[in-house]
């Protein structure tokens, strides 16, 4: 169990959140203009790094906001967390 520092609710246990996977890559904005490779990239392919990982979590048992979390997937140290509405990649 690790703590995720929710920008709205403060540090909360990971069990309050629902995992949303790798935050890299976004859904093609205009699907009909996208090609197969772009879809395959978005749907299936992952960097799957051993170390720092940018990922999405939803605070389902809190503010229900989607958050972008920087976490080390070996040590589980959380090195940053912000609301996805704040933008940036």
């Amino acid at each position: 169990m690790f703590l995720i520092p929710c920008p709205h609710c403060g540090p909360r246990a990971e069990s309050e959140f629902s995992y949303g996977g790798d935050a890299k890559g976004s859904r093609p904005a205009v699907p009909e203009e996208s090609n197969d490779e772009t879809w395959i990239e978005y749907l299936y392919l992952r960097d799957n790094p051993k170390g720092g990982h940018e990922e999405l979590w939803q605070h389902v048992h809190g503010c229900r906001r989607w958050l972008r979390v920087s976490r080390d997937v070996v040590s589980h140290a959380v090195n940053g967390c912000r609301d996805v509405a704040e933008g940036g990649s």
Binding site: D22, Y44, R46, N48, P49, E55, H76
Partner: protein
């Protein structure tokens, strides 16, 4: 090296058992091999064994960064079954089941394969109907399956709480009698010894740090024990497939997750089959030492840490007590975690890669152990011929590009099936 037999046991007994030799050599890596398999787990060792046995290769190495069988081969819950719905999976795993049935004799090593049955419990009429469908699909593929009603379940496993007042009353179940368990370490050791006897070099404490390529494809491997030339390299490193593939600039449809397993304190024999819980996620059997061996879901977020979260352990224990109230006073003795390759459709990947000479065996999600013999068999074929075997033709990496994903659970075209 002498074979294991009653006569040899007796002969060595006369000498005070001082004459036994190590079961495999500890060779120095050669400068060049005809085939190298990266990863000395069950899959890698089985692949090397079948490359030597079925395809006549004599100059093979298995490179292992730690010790053989020290990864997921030594961390699973030892369950063997072939109760799959889709044709591609059913045929592949059933081939594996047939290999399991003769494995101890083939390897001259007792893998303690015990066909004690695997019973999947259903807790609603609807779930029982999906099991009926799965059972019929299995029988059409020549796999044994029996649909049990509630009374049959009570007779087959009297220890279960099948009362109407149970938290999730049991409606019935799907039984594969040929399923069961095997001794996981013995599978690694048996394949290692059998491969070594056919000349395979098993090189432990040898970590691959780079994959060297030229115009023809793979040229060799950079390792912690020096450069080794080889034009035919197979990766069998599930958990770290993404890292190894990245050394050859191949991206995979895989995330690494931690899966936990645990054992209770050992008790006298009380459970003579494998039970899976259909209402939540639990699979449990009893080891020959008497421990209840169990597991459940992955923790649910990317992880390369071979340790997990207490919440999952509590969940697994709660499932166990819901099915078997009499186990409520058992204590958990040990828990551990292993790193799983979770593919985007929940099915494994065995086949070629975009890099000539580089082959991939991975994406086992958390069902790799039972596949060990079949996986080695078809991976050896794929590495030897450069083409997939009929049994792994559908398990290719290309399916994510062609859209022919293998959605065993029947959950629809959803990319994140785990």
């Amino acid at each position: 090296m002498s074979s294991y037999s009653l006569a040899n046991l007796f002969r060595h007994g006369l000498g005070g058992h001082k004459g036994w030799k190590p079961a495999w050599r500890d060779p120095e890596p050669k400068a060049e091999y005809d085939a190298i398999i990266v990863g000395g787990g069950g899959h890698g060792l089985a692949s090397a064994y079948y490359l030597a046995k079925n395809h006549g290769f004599t100059n093979i190495a298995v490179l292992e960064k730690g010790w053989i069988g020290g990864g997921n081969t030594g961390r699973n819950t030892t369950i063997v079954r072939s109760n799959y719905l889709l044709d591609a999976n059913a045929k592949f795993y059933e081939h594996g089941m047939k290999l399991w049935e003769g494995l101890s004799q083939d390897l001259n090593f007792n893998v303690m394969f015990s066909q004690r049955g695997v019973l999947n419990l259903a807790h609603s009429k609807g779930q029982l109907e999906t099991f009926r469908r799965r059972g019929n699909a299995m029988r059409l593929n020549g796999v044994d399956a029996e649909l049990l009603n509630r009374d049959d379940v009570a007779a087959f496993c009297p220890e279960l709480d099948i009362s109407k007042t149970a938290r999730f009353p049991v409606e019935g179940g799907l039984l594969q009698r040929r399923g069961g368990t095997a001794r996981h370490d013995a599978v690694a050791w048996g394949y290692a010894r059998a491969a070594d006897r056919r000349g395979v070099d098993i090189i432990q404490n040898c970590e691959v740090t780079g994959i060297r390529r030229d115009q023809r494809g793979v040229a060799g491997l950079e390792t912690s024990r020096g450069y080794i030339a080889c034009r035919r390299v197979g990766l069998a490193v599930a958990g770290h497939s993404s890292q190894l593939a990245a050394m050859a600039d191949v991206r995979l449809p895989i995330e690494s997750h931690v899966l936990q397993a645990m054992v209770s304190e050992p008790v006298k024999p009380c459970l003579d089959t494998v039970i899976t819980f259909g209402a939540a996620h639990l699979y449990v059997s009893q080891s020959d030492k008497g421990e209840l061996v169990m597991g459940g879901d992955i923790d649910g977020y990317n992880s390369y840490a071979q340790r997990g979260n207490l919440a999952i352990i509590e969940h697994v224990a709660a499932c166990l007590v819901a099915l078997f109230p009499q186990f409520s006073r058992l204590r958990i003795l040990r828990t551990w975690g292993g790193i799983m390759d979770m593919t985007m459709d929940g099915s494994p990947i065995i086949g070629t890669t975009p890099v000539p000479g580089l082959f991939l065996n991975g994406g086992w999600c958390y069902g790799g152990f039972k596949a060990t013999p079949a996986s080695g068999w078809v991976f050896a074929h794929t590495m030897a011929t450069g083409q997939p075997h009929a049994l792994n033709a559908d398990l290719n990496l290309d399916r994510f590009h062609t859209g022919r994903v293998l959605d065993e659970r029947g959950a629809g075209p959803y990319p994140w099936l785990h």
